[in-house]
């Protein structure tokens, strides 16, 4: 069976290559080194017209990744809130949650994306009449502009150290909790850790000065330059993906909570636990076992749905690589193959992470 399958695949590939060669269509992956010759409007890493298609692929992938990761976080938060709100005893809260779910999961996602996009570019003012807050935050139909910073020499190094320090804090906090569970004593690990960090940072800054410079957005010609900016395309896509997926997650959460037997609520009540504690410590942990597997599917859906962004010019993987790059090079077979492999990899990675988490929270049968 396996060899038959491999044989079939090989035959398909061989046939495709032979056909393309017969039609004089360029083949191979050599194009990845060529200059793209065009620019795009959101890049998390350095990219311009002289960059290669490989670089473009990376830029598109990062754009897909950032909107997916932020979308997953937002959708989870909103989804949990709405899902729990639907179970609320308060009639108004529960009905509002019900209306939210029924509206957002019943409208096609593409229409929602276009709705938010049109709303943003039609309702927000032209850059010359931007909404502004203290003359450092600006909002107009070209984007949202926030103050940001640029690094001076040494600044990049300091950022890395701060990042490592932040990661260390989790370890220290974990250690302190273990210690408390073991001995019952509170050790001031975390407090001391932060104290040492602040002293070190203070020493560094007083010795070498602040290696950062404020980067404020300012109107130059047609548009704002500088600062940290989010394009309307990004915001519309993020909002649409989050709200849409959250409506499904809300139902999953509701199902999960309802799957926990009523006796658990009553037992928690009988112990005198306040509602919030019984929810957080008794109900939700048990509901998670039911929630996680369908939640994983929603995360995968969100990532794949981000490819609808081509309609609003958000430069994610499908739009810039399987779209523009495909058209400029004409190498459809290779590009679609690469794109499919990447989505497969992203989905398998998400599944793997979620399955690992699932294994941790799953009910251990004794």
């Amino acid at each position: 069976m396996v060899s038959a399958f491999i044989g079939l695949v090989w035959w398909l590939i061989d046939n495709t290559v032979a056909n393309l060669a017969r039609q004089n269509v360029a083949t191979g992956f050599g194009f990845l080194d060529n200059n793209t010759g065009f620019d795009i409007n959101q890049k998390l890493i350095a990219y311009d017209e002289t960059s290669s298609y490989l670089r473009l692929l990376l830029v598109g992938l990062l754009n897909t990744a950032i909107v997916s990761v932020l979308g997953i976080l937002l959708a989870t938060v909103i989804g949990f809130m709405v899902g729990l709100a639907r179970l609320s005893d308060n009639w108004l809260v529960s009905k509002l949650a019900f209306i939210y779910v029924e509206i957002f999961r019943n409208l096609p996602l593409l229409i929602q994306i276009l709705f938010w996009y049109v709303l943003l570019i039609e309702l927000l003012p032209h850059p010359k009449k931007s909404f502004s807050l203290w003359e450092v935050f600006f909002l107009n139909n070209r984007g949202l502009y926030l103050p940001w910073f640029t690094t001076l020499p040494g600044g990049g190094y300091l950022l890395w150290v701060l990042g490592l320090f932040g990661a260390g804090w989790f370890y220290v906090a974990h250690k302190a909790r273990k210690m408390r569970e073991l001995t019952g004593h509170n050790k001031a690990y975390a407090r001391n850790y932060i104290l040492i960090g602040v002293i070190c940072l203070g020493g560094y800054l007083s010795l070498w000065g602040v290696p950062f410079e404020a980067d404020l957005p300012a109107l130059k010609g047609f548009n704002f330059r500088g600062g940290l900016s989010f394009t309307p395309e990004f915001v519309a896509l993020l909002v649409a993906l989050s709200l849409y997926t959250a409506s499904f997650i809300a139902e999953i959460v509701r199902a999960g909570v309802l799957s926990v037997s009523k006796g658990q609520f009553e037992a928690a009540k009988a112990l005198g636990l306040p509602t919030s504690v019984s929810m957080n410590k008794v109900i939700i942990p048990q509901a998670m076992r039911v929630i996680i597997p369908p939640l994983t599917s929603q995360y995968l859906n969100l990532t794949k749905n981000s490819s609808l962004a081509a309609a609003i010019a958000y430069p994610e993987l499908v739009s810039v690589f399987a779209g523009t790059a495909l058209n400029q090079t004409g190498q459809a077979v290779e590009i679609i193959f690469i794109t499919m492999s990447i989505y497969l990899f992203l989905s398998l990675l998400t599944s793997f992470l979620m399955n690992t988490y699932n294994a941790r929270v799953a009910l251990v049968e004794k």
């Binding site: 044989g7 269509v25 311009d48 070209r142 010609g221 548009n223 058209n327």
Partner: protein, 353 residues
């Protein structure tokens, strides 16, 4: 007493695998592919319909009206080819294609002819397995801006936001132009031109860029066409040409000579109104064009009335231009570069002789 038991046949596993693999790979190894011995011409004649790839709606080039009938200079060209080959200007299936999928549609044989205001570039001609047959419209890339931003030249667009169509030469030209002039810009590339135009109209961009003819056409669709101005300069040369698959020279010749026949007809003063009287013309060039003399149609694989039918049903190049783009249309585009060479333009057809 076990004569009922069949003799067991021993399969060696490796032998079995080898048999299956060989069997499956045989077609590949011998490169037996879906045979395309038939030429495009025979194929079209057999199915009695020409499939023609056009835009998803660009007034002047190819756009459907409210009855679903396609109009435009490219749609006319499709009809001209259909009428030359099949004798019926309606034996045609228009396939609307986005910029992104047009070449794949042609390569894969989904369409016989691509007449979709497509720029003829070296890369497309050499690396995509397609053959351009000759520019039926000489264009250049331009910009449209709102009048109230006070811009009169492309040079003043430093720092502007620009809306464009994804997967076109316009994206590349903008990048080239702004880079070589040391100017900054933000580009938003949309998959469909309607989306790009709508975003521009909503104020997402300061300028929308495409071929200049397209700008005039799209301006009609804006909320307030008079509030916008097409800048005079062009930043590139865009010879828009129909294309066919590479490797079928007979078919490429037919398509090319339908284009030339329409040009020659205009040059010789033959049009859809006077064609009957022109048949009696003593001018040998006209007599050859209309098949009164010689057997040029037959050498194309058609009959000798091929050009007569084209001119009668579709008209000459000038008629098609006027009806769709020029004085007789809403767009009112000057002939300019697209005038005949005898009028100082670039449209030049080899002679029929």
């Amino acid at each position: 007493m076990n004569f009922l038991k069949w003799p067991t046949i021993e399969f060696s596993k490796a032998g079995l695998l080898f048999t299956i693999v060989t069997f499956l790979l045989f077609p590949a190894l011998s490169n037996v592919m879906p045979a395309k011995a038939e030429g495009t011409l025979e194929l079209i004649k057999k199915r009695n319909v020409l499939t023609c790839g056009v835009t998803q709606g660009l007034p002047g080039f190819s756009a459907p009206d409210d009855k679903g009938r396609w109009h435009g200079i490219d749609a006319d060209f499709c009809r001209a080819v259909a009428v030359a080959v099949l004798g019926d200007a309606d034996a045609i299936k228009f396939v609307p294609l986005s910029a992104k999928v047009r070449f794949t549609a042609l390569q894969s044989g989904e369409i016989d002819l691509l007449a979709r205001n497509t720029t003829w570039t070296m890369h497309r001609d050499t690396a995509l397995g397609i053959q351009f047959i000759g520019a039926n419209y000489y264009d250049g890339q331009g910009f449209i801006v709102k009048k109230d931003i006070g811009v009169t030249s492309v040079r003043e667009l430093d720092g502007a936001s620009i809306c464009a169509n994804a997967g076109t030469t316009t994206e590349l030209n903008v990048a080239d132009y702004f880079r070589s002039n040391g100017m900054e810009y933000d580009i938003s590339s949309f998959e469909k031109s309607e989306e790009a135009v709508a975003a521009y109209d909503a104020g997402r961009c300061d300028a929308y860029t495409t071929d200049q003819s397209g700008l005039y056409a799209q301006r009609q669709r804006l909320v307030d066409p008079d509030a916008h101005i097409v800048l005079n300069e062009v930043i590139s040369k865009e010879p828009l040409s129909p294309a066919v698959r590479q490797g079928d020279d007979v078919w490429a010749d037919i398509v090319r000579w339908v284009h030339y026949a329409m040009l020659n007809a205009e040059e010789l003063g033959v049009n859809s109104q006077n064609i009957d009287s022109m048949k009696a013309s003593p001018n040998p060039s006209i007599r050859r064009l209309l098949g009164v003399e010689g057997s040029f149609g037959e050498s194309l694989g058609l009959d000798n009335d091929w050009a007569t039918r084209v001119i009668l049903k579709v008209g000459n190049y000038g008629e098609s231009f006027d009806r769709n783009l020029g004085a007789g249309s809403e767009l009112k585009i000057e002939r300019g570069l697209n005038a005949l060479w005898t009028q100082g333009g670039l449209q030049f057809a080899p002679p029929i002789r």
